[in-house]
Amino acid sequence: MPDTFLDSTELVLNMGPQHPSTHGVLRVILKLDGEKVLGTDCVIGYLHRGVEKIAENRTYVQFNPYVDRMDYVAAISNGLGYCLAVEKLLNVEAPPRAKAVRVILTELNRIASHLLWLGTHALDIGAITPVFYCFREREEALKIFEQYCGARLTTHAFRIGGLQYETYEGFERDVREFCTMFLPKVDEYEELLTNNRIWVGRLKGIGILTGDECKEYGVTGPLLRAAGVKWDLRKAQPYSGYEQYDFEIPTRENGDTYDRYIVRMQEMRQSVRIMEQAVEGIPEGPIMGKVGKVIKPPVGEAYVSIEAPKGELGYYVVSDGSTQPYRVRVRPPSYVNLQALDKMVRGALIADVVAVIGTLDIVLGEVDR
């Protein structure tokens, strides 16, 4: 009796797909010993819509709105990546005015995406307050999108070759007001969380990924930077005129959940810095480059990637010379980053799984495509 009493039994627990802390329809099968995680298996694909298949059956222009539906909290980044990839195939560039507006909207979208991450991540950990504050400020960003293109989430803001719309009257003013308003708010969030004992206790030392492990697993974005690798595609291979702006790549050393929180908070400040510079000198001029009515890239292929809020978002587009892409492969940061979940939670407690899923900042629309 005492022997069997002391024996531990493994327990398989199903978490999700309908679970508030899995941020959508992610199902994680956990193998547990008491509260300790022995292993995980992710079951994904609940939101699979066959985006890459759809691309092969639409024209280049028609496919443009579909990309917004992948990472739907950062639709503008998705659109930018796709437009840049097709522009690369066509060998055209967006005019300077379009580039500047693209940068402003993409950075605004990065802030909106990070705010959603912060609010829900804190909520998962048990801090109720930040989510209300975050959504309050995110609303201001979404209002600018709405004014600009009529949509708040799936914006379809850019067009292959430039911009869908000219900026509206008062766009610069709104962006400036957002910047002035937003910086003190970041301090406010930090006041709530950064030195909060519960927050620090739940986050420090949890879900550690070193820089080498990140590279091994292909993990990019804030996760990589929190592990001390100073790498950001906006600096490493600038696109859309990012080389003109003065900003820093925030990094940390420990690669734990807490450091990733700090890195993302810093990134929001840097985004404001970029927007402030960009909005000061939006050049005059056309918003569309020299792109024909019918988009028909020559036979060839190109891989173009951008620094999306979640990491490296890449598009590998193959053209057979017709008006429809022959193949569009999306390299989704969420999908690749999620793979590291098992590594991050092995040996941790079940409550840490919630923290780690939060810190991964995945969007299941992008994981499943």
Binding site: I44, G45, H48, G50, E52, K53, I54, E56, N57, T59, V61, Q62, K88, L89, N91, Q164, K215, E216, Y217, G218, V229, W231, A236, Q237, G292, K293, V294, K296, P298, V299, G300, E301, A302, Y303, S305, E312, G314, Y316, V318, D320, G321, Y326, R327, R329, R331, Y335, V336, Q339, D368, R369
Partner: protein, 216 residues
């Protein structure tokens, strides 16, 4: 927007002037004579990517190291790629990682060319942090060929190869956990193959699991 999206509308988009070969107007003299049986038109050479040779220290080193295993080193739109024989892809990947610091496997994907004998293009994209350079490794494989898994070189290949298997039915030899990842596990068919129609589905699976006649 609206002007570009009316397929089947009254004004079908016409290519701008000069683009696309116009049917040549037949000379009138020809029409009088009985037309001689036309020699079968020589098949148009398929348009190919206007890639140029990629010449650099790295390209030369890879060529030297693998000899016949490397078929070409090319560059297109400023993006470099190495075309290898199927069995050399993983050794090249390994060589690039160990000898040239390409320690980040960005992506693995495939492209289906059903009319070609080697049906699939298998594409590996690698990036080097110290060099700030991205290189693609491409190889053409036949349907049924089982390429070696890249997991021994890059752990991230695990899910990437599972997705390629799921979508194209390419099996990776030595993969420890080659299951479908996005589609249901018992789904029949490989959706991203070109012969898989966009409306096609595994009707049996849909009926059994969803309790409806059809997913369309």
């Amino acid at each position: 927007m609206a002007d570009e999206q009316n397929p089947g509308g009254s004004e079908a988009p016409s290519p701008p002037g000069g683009e696309g070969p116009k049917p040549p107007a037949k000379p009138a003299a020809d029409a009088a004579k009985p037309a001689p049986p036309k020699p079968p038109a020589p098949p148009k050479p398929p348009a190919t990517m206007a890639a140029t040779p990629w010449d650099s220290d790295l390209a030369r080193a890879v060529k030297e190291q693998f000899g016949d295993g490397v078929l070409a080193t090319s560059t297109y739109l400023g993006q470099d790629f190495v075309v290898t024989k199927p069995e050399s892809a993983i050794p090249v990947l390994e060589y690039l990682k160990l000898e040239a610091d390409f320690d980040y496997l960005v992506d693995i994907t495939a492209v289906d060319w059903p009319k070609r004998a080697e049906r699939f293009d298998l594409v590996y994209i690698v990036y080097s942090f110290p060099r700030n350079q991205r290189v693609r490794i491409k190889t053409q494989i036949q349907d049924g060929f089982e390429p070696r898994t890249a997991i021994s070189v890059h752990l991230t290949a695990n899910w990437l190869e599972r997705e390629v298997f799921d979508m194209f039915g390419i099996r990776f030899a030595g993969h420890p956990d080659l299951r479908r990842i996005l589609m249901p596990e018992d789904w029949q068919g490989y959706p991203l193959r070109k012969d898989y129609g966009i409306l096609q589905q595994d009707v049996r699976w849909v009926q059994e699991n969803l309790g409806i006649e059809s997913g369309q």
